[in-house]
Amino acid sequence: MKPVFVRPQSLTDKPFHFCPGCHHGVIHRLVAEAIDRFGVRERTIAAASVGCSVFLYDYFDIDVVESPHGRAPAVATGIKRTNPDKFVFIYQGDGDLAAIGTAEIIHAANRGENLTVVFVNNTVYGMTGGQMAPTTLLGQPTTTSPYGREFGQDGYPIKMTEMLAQLEGVGFAARVAVDTPARLAQARKAVFRAFETQLEEKGMGFVEILSSCPTNWGMKPLEAVRRIEREMIPYFPLGVYKERKGSDAL
């Protein structure tokens, strides 16, 4: 019998610890599919970050270096500059990438580091229990914005993909979601493009993936999925924001 659905080779068989309805598992799978698709498992080194995705190293059967909170782009720079023949990707959440690690991601992007970045935006600090993130939407209550995020107090949710797309060092920048089968297919394509960008040495390949966090949003999984469409996508529009074409090497 021909298998129609198998676990990507670069994933281990360890069950995900993620909460029901969380999108990290789906996104992990997309990344693993890309590793398999481009045949880079044996030369991949990932820099893991701090947050719910910290256990990435338990789920991927690849070499992984743990980074301090927000520093994965710097750690990955150190890995890639000393091992240009290796494939290096980082996987960061919104608190990690867009708050404590803002300097590291911007400058890694600006240097045009040949890295693939998977940025998971769920508008909340997940692992620490649902505090306000730099991407928390206006009006969204969290444990540290109990009356809802208010711009006079907390500023606006930060749009990283739009910002990074402005930098010359970025070869590919896109925002996708995985809340419907159609969007999942687009997300897969974007992750693949972010991989190709590195393989073609066109600078940073950056994918922001809107993700649900039912536990910290206080929603059931289906409600959480609907929130992505209803509240997140209007503020964080999906699409490819930057694509360096053809032979325009960096």
């Binding site: 070499d63 270096v65 091992n83």
Partner: protein, 358 residues
């Protein structure tokens, strides 16, 4: 030391040359006085010998680039000066926890805060107590000459690899900025293979984790004990100290780095004048040569600790002595670099009375 040549060199440049001689091809750093000769030198040399020089956006980024490079087993280095080293502590803690070898250079300036750019030894506590969060140590080497900037930097790379741990070269503005004759030599110890632990891509093997997070029941205690055992081994095998103890020693000066250099002139002069003054210079600040110092104290020799701060290493001296002999202190906080005469007077003041040479 088969091939060697003697040049007249600045301490910082000697250190940078040693890194290259030791096989370091990767440098990550951020400009700060008084160590900028190091990145300036390496930015010229490394790209021409197949290496990489990255000027990072911050000290925080540069230490984490070093972490990434070290995790793949490459010999790599960062350098900075006091305020910058404070920013690097996060990464140093992670490297100690993840057992990543790397060399970190601190050409000390003065603090606290922005302080100043004059020589100081105010970072002794920070360097020898680990510096960042958690229960760990960093091997700390304290050069007292331009030659030692070279020699101890080569050693730093060897120790970092041998024990898979970050190693700090703790210099200061005086040693870093002064020029002296330097004998450059080619290290003979080959760089050890790191295939058995480093992140190199999981070719033909399961993936590896270079990490410091341990959440399983009992795992972290086990990891901390494993580190502690490594530190114990380092204490046993890597403690280095220079001791010159004359027969019938009346008092011994304990000092490291540039303070030791100045104190040595005073000690030599007193001995020329017929006094019997000893000289104890810790070369490794961690591990601290406590046993050697205890043995001096057991002979009833009073000790005078001289530091370019208001009293840091003197605490380790007292811990080593444990009341066996008097421990005096002469401190020079930043802004005034003592002369040999100053230290001469401090020694004479503490010498037993009535024994002055004619």
């Amino acid at each position: 030391m088969s091939e060697s040549k003697v040049t007249f060199e600045k301490g910082n440049v000697a250190l940078a040359k040693a890194a290259v001689a030791a096989g370091c091809r990767y440098y990550f750093g951020y400009p700060i006085t008084p160590q900028s000769d190091i990145p300036e030198y390496l930015s010229g040399v490394l790209p021409r010998i197949g290496g990489q020089f990255v000027q990072a956006e911050s000290e925080v980024a540069s230490i984490n680039m070093l972490l990434g490079a070290g995790a793949t087993g490459k010999r790599a280095m960062t350098s900075s000066s006091s305020p910058g080293i404070s920013l690097k502590q996060e990464g140093i803690s992670y490297m100690a926890g993840s057992e990543i070898p790397a060399v970190i250079v601190n050409v000390q300036r003065s603090g606290p805060g922005l302080g100043g750019i004059a020589p100081s030894q105010g970072d002794y506590f920070q360097a020898t107590r680990g510096g960042g969060h958690g229960d760990y140590r960093v091997i700390v080497l304290a050069p007292a000459s331009v030659q030692e900037m070279y020699d101890l930097t080569v050693l730093a790379f060897e120790l970092a690899d041998a024990y898979r741990t970050p190693v700090m070269v703790l210099a200061d503005a005086m040693i870093g900025m002064m020029k002296e004759p330097l004998e450059e030599w080619v290290p003979q110890n080959p760089e050890p293979a790191k295939d058995d632990w480093a992140a190199t891509g999981a070719a033909g093997r399961p993936g590896r984790r270079i990490k410091s997070l341990y959440l399983g029941d009992g795992e972290l205690a086990e990891h901390n004990w494993k580190l502690a055992q490594k530190y114990e081994r380092i204490r046993r095998e890597e403690t280095r100290v220079q001791i010159e103890l004359p027969e019938g020693c009346e008092l011994a000066v304990v000092a490291f780095g540039s303070a030791a250099r100045i104190a040595k002139s005073a000690v030599d002069r007193l001995n020329d004048e017929g006094r019997r003054v000893g000289y104890v210079r810790p070369i490794t600040l961690w591990p601290f040569p406590e046993e050697a110092i205890r043995r001096v104290a057991e002979q009833g020799v009073p000790l005078l600790t001289v530091e370019l701060n208001t009293g840091q290493m003197v605490e380790d001296v007292r811990l080593a002595v444990e009341g066996r002999a008097p421990v005096h202190f002469a401190g020079y906080p930043p802004g005034y670099l003592p002369s040999p005469d100053d230290i001469y007077d401090e020694i004479v003041r503490r010498l037993p009375a009535g024994k002055e040479a004619a």
